[in-house]
Structure formats: C-alpha cells, structure tokens
Symmetry: C2
Subunit: 345 residues, 2 copies
C-alpha cells in the first residue's frame, strides 16, 4: 500500500504544562491548536500506523491541549487520545503485523502522535480489533470513557453502599456508570444543570437526578443523602458544588475527584469532618488505575466491546466534525449537552 | 474514707455541638464554662473515682468546650479529658477495686465527668497506675498527646519516607513526635510562628524549622520539600498555611488533618493534583485510632510511661493554675507558646 508522505492534523501550540490553570471548557481552538501538515510517522517495532476513521474528543483531551492534564504536551505534534480506524502499517513484531487491515479502536497513550490527524501511531497492545457489530462512533469512544466507567464503578462496588453520587450526571461517562449501576441494583444520585436532562437519566437508571441550579437544590440534596447514605462521590466538577455535596455526605464519605470542570476554588467546608467523621478526599486517573490494575485492563476492554455490541451501551453523538471545519466548529459543538463530539480526519 | 457530697468544678455551658465553627483559640472562658459546685459522682461497676491532682488542658479540650469536637457536650457537667490523681473509690469489680489508693494517669473518655473538677470519674481501663519516677505534670499529660504522637508517627513510619512535615511545630505534641523521629533517624520538617522557637526544636531533632511568618517562607518551603521529598503532612492548623504546604508536596503526598487552629477557609489549591499526582487528604482522631487498633493501646501507654520516666520525654509547663483562678487566667496562659497549661482543682 502506498502511503502519502504528509498528512493533515490538528497540532499542539503549547509545550509542556500550562503555568496557570483555566476552566476545563474549550473556549476557543486558536490558543491551543492549529491545523497543519506534518510527515506521516513510521511505526516502531511494537507499534501500528492507523488510518483514522473517527477520533473522539474527550474532556481529558481538552485538559491535555490546555496543558492541564497529567502528561506534558509536545509542541507541533497532533493531539487526540483515542479513535477508531484501520491499521495500514506496522512494526516488525508479529502481533503488530497481525493487525494490518483490521479495524481497531485505539488509544495513542504516550506515542505523541494523536488521533486528531489522518494517521495516528499507537502501541499494538493499545489497539482493540473490533467486532463488526460495533459502530465506528462506539469504537472511537471505546477506551477512555468505558474503562474509566468500569474502574470507577469498581470503587463504588468495593465500598459496598448501594447509593453513590456523581456530578456531571449527563456526561457520556456518567451514563455508562448509571447503566452499570442499574444492572446490579445500585442507586446513582446524579447532579445535572438542566431540567430537561432529568427524565432520560432516570429512565437510564439514576435513582435521583438533582438540578444543581434549582433554588431548593441544597435542601433536596440533604434529604436525598439522608435517605440514601451514599459513601462514594465521583466528581468531575470540583468547586462550590462539589464542596457542598461532600459536606452533606455522611461519615466515612470518600470524595473521588476525576475532573475539574469548575475553576472556582475548591474548599473543604468542614475540615473537622476529616478528623471526626473519617472522611477522605482522593483522586482517580485512568493511567494510574491501569498501572495499578494491569490484569483488569483486558477483561474490562472485552466487557466494553460486548456492551457496545449488544446495545447495553451506546454512545450519544452530538456531532461528527470534518477536520477542515474543526477550528471553526469544535468549541460550539462541545458546549452542547449530553453527547460526544467526533472528528473525521 | 469520708467523701464530701459536693465538689468544685468547671462546668460546661453549651450543650451538644456548636452551630457555627469558631477558631480553636480559647478567646474567653465565660461563653463556654462556669465555676460551680456539683454533687460528687458515684462510680459505676467498672469505674473509679479519682481525687484530681492536676488536669491538663489540651487543644482537644478547647475544641470540646466550644462544641467543635467529635463528641457532644453535656450541659452542666465538668469538662476535661485527662489528668492525674489518686483513686479514692471504685465500682464493685475487682480491677477497679485494686486501683484504690493508687496514683493514676486517667482519661475521662465518655464518662461525662471530666478532670476539671475536684473529683473525676473514669473507666478503670482508662487509668494507668504510675511509676514513682513519673512527675505529676507528665502523668497529667500522659494519654492524649503521647498516644496521638505514637499513633501519628506510626503513620509516618509505615509510609516509609524519612522526611515528613508538621504544622504547629512547637506544640507539646509535635515535640513528642520530633523526639520519636530522632530516635530512628527520621527527618521532621516543622513550621512555627516565631524565630525564637527554631533553635530548641532543631536541638530536639527537627531537620528543618520554618517560620511561616517569614517573607521568604514559600520559597524556603519549596526548596526544603524538593530536597527532602516528604510524603506525610501532619496538620494541626488547616487554612492557607496548610493549603500551601500540601500544594508544594510531591506525588502521593498525604495531608493528615488532626486539628483546626486556623478558621480561615481550607482550599485545595490544585484539585488536579488529587487526580494526576495521586495525593490524598484524610484525618486523624485518637478515638478512631483506638477503636481501630485496640491492641496498640496498651503497648503505646507503656512506652509513653517509660519515656516520661527515663527523661526521653518531658512535658514543658507554661503554668499550673488553681481552679479558683481558672476563669480569669486560662485564656492568657493558653496563648503563651511552647508549653502546657494545667489546672489544680
């Protein structure tokens, strides 16, 4: 197969980490990304080159391009942590070679050749050959969110209390977790920002859906917490909302921070609760989880693929944006609620 | 022995918990305590009645009388969590009976008959018969601080990094921990509020003593942390000082809150550190530790008594205040740095 020598990509403008943190919202593309042409990379011995079909845009991508994610940016390289596509070239080892011609879901990990490009590099071990029954939209969002959902729901399950709380309840990730919870009779309490998100989340399996903008939010929150006694708080937001929730939670509550959607200061309202009520604050990062639980990764990926194949899980699509329109359209598409935005290179 | 029917005591004014938290400083006695006369209590089967020799005033006592401690106040009862004295009566069981006539260190625990009185009730199991080599001043402060010191230094030792950080470095508790650390070659980094506290703490075994009021405090803190890589942060203060320290600490740092000396808001400056640097925030409470580690309590008390006997530990005395002068003098004595204040009933 003849490969072009150059490709289109969305390239990182910043290098390393941001000096001052900003909101997790992508207010504009221009400060962080530029469209460009760059040489098509050559896979190393354990890698494959993938012709990208669809690339997903996750909250972690936004944090990364803004220099606020747990790994440094490399200026001039393509962004994008995951996608779906066809393997078109590989390194010399047997397993990468065996993937040639296959449609795969892939995570770019530490390769620094992201998915927001016509071609991406990934470790063969970070590729999942897809069943035909998995849609491209599900394959492109097969790794980051599903593994995070399975890993975080493990935390809930191990704690043992059936009720738990999540902010950003209408996110794709929260929806996956709500689905997992329903299957085993657990009771997710989730917060949203709009009333029109409530019905569909209840239908999906949320025990309570609270609008954080409602005037009686705090009173309702206290009532629900008193009745349900949740121990785990999976938090994508931080700031005053998260502080209020953690403060209202019972003894031995664990605040698990995995995102920072609100740049407002995050206050521990009652430090005495850490002392006398044995509360904890901790974080969750998929990369750390994968390091700690290597043996969970394979089964979790298989489970995700089965769930997307049989329809238990399905990715809601807000928009599929051609790469040529990305600079103009992405921020506005990301601002829309409820679904996922994809790039088509 | 003939017992009086009434006794002098400092009695709690408040009931239950405070509605709004205030500083951990005892700004005045009058809102919280009143001198009074009350019937001498009768010990239950497992209890002893102690003629109090000295009662200590710990930060936890101050939090308790202000309604900010982990157990509710009972209006009209005497305050005071620990002291030293002579057992003058007991319940019917054999062990309490065997303590009659003995000088003991005692903790009042949940008896609601505190040590700030001529007589106090304690569970016999919460009394330690003292060696003659232990001074009254050490006996009266034998339980709360020493057990907390031993328990919290256990946390440091289990984490494994030799360097660790403490706020309120000149407190009696911090000094005990510094002594423990020196014996096994650990490196305490402590903060103080005055330069004249630095030399004596270094002599005691602190690797670094930082004045939090110094203009270059933050720069020095960052340098010391970079060089020493402390993982555990034992914090009595919270507020902006503690936030700054935790923010500067390396990956996998654990902020262990055991006091709340600063009522200013406690902010998690970079919630992303919880996610990407695997940092944790937790609390320490002696009562919780004793529940969790019952088998550690006896050996720890023995170790404390040996340390006070052989001079490895010694309680610095700021003042011994007769109970008749308590209302007028206690707040001012507590405001003096470096030592412990005792009540003599």
């Amino acid at each position: 197969m003849t490969m072009p020598s150059e490709m289109k990509a969305l390239l990182l403008i910043g290098d390393g980490y941001a000096r001052t943190p900003t909101a997790s919202v992508l207010e504009a593309m221009e400060p962080y990304l530029r469209p460009g042409r760059i040489a098509v990379p050559t896979p190393g011995p354990t890698q494959v080159l993938i012709k990208v079909g669809l690339a997903s845009i996750n909250p972690s991508d936004v944090m990364f391009v803004k220099g606020q994610y747990g790994q440094p940016r490399v200026k001039g390289q393509p962004a994008g942590f995951e996608g779906v596509g066809t393997v078109v070239a590989s390194g010399d080892e047997a397993y990468p070679k065996s993937l040639i011609g296959k449609r795969v879901a892939f995570a770019t990990g530490v390769s620094n050749w992201g998915s927001w490009a016509e071609y991406a590099l990934a470790e063969a071990a970070a590729c999942i050959p897809l069943l035909d029954t998995v849609r491209d939209e599900d394959g492109a969002a097969m790794i980051v969110n599903p593994l995070t959902a399975l890993a975080m729901f493990d935390i809930v399950r191990e704690e043992g209390e059936k009720a738990f709380i999540m902010t950003a309840g209408a996110s794709q990730l929260s929806k996956l977790i709500i689905g997992l919870a329903r299957e085993v009779g657990f009771r997710p309490i989730v917060t949203v920002r709009r009333n029109d998100q409530i019905a569909s989340l209840k239908e999906l399996g949320a025990a309570h859906v609270l609008n954080e903008k409602a005037s009686d939010f705090k009173a309702v929150l206290r009532e629900v917490i008193k009745a349900e006694q949740p121990r785990i708080f999976l938090d994508a937001v931080t700031g005053p909302l998260a502080s209020t929730i953690f403060d209202a939670m019972p003894r031995r509550a664990r605040w698990v921070i995995y995102g920072r959607l609100d740049p407002e200061p995050t206050i521990i309202l009652e430090p005495g609760q850490m002392i006398f009520q044995h509360k904890h604050i901790e974080g969750f990062w998929l990369s750390e989880w994968m390091r700690q639980f290597r043996d969970r990764r394979g089964p979790a990926i298989l489970e995700a693929q089965q769930r997307f194949s049989d329809g238990r899980w399905s990715t809601d699509v807000t928009a599929i944006v051609p790469i040529a329109e990305a600079m103009a359209r992405i921020p506005a598409e990301l601002a829309k609620p409820n679904g996922k935005v994809f790039l088509r290179p």
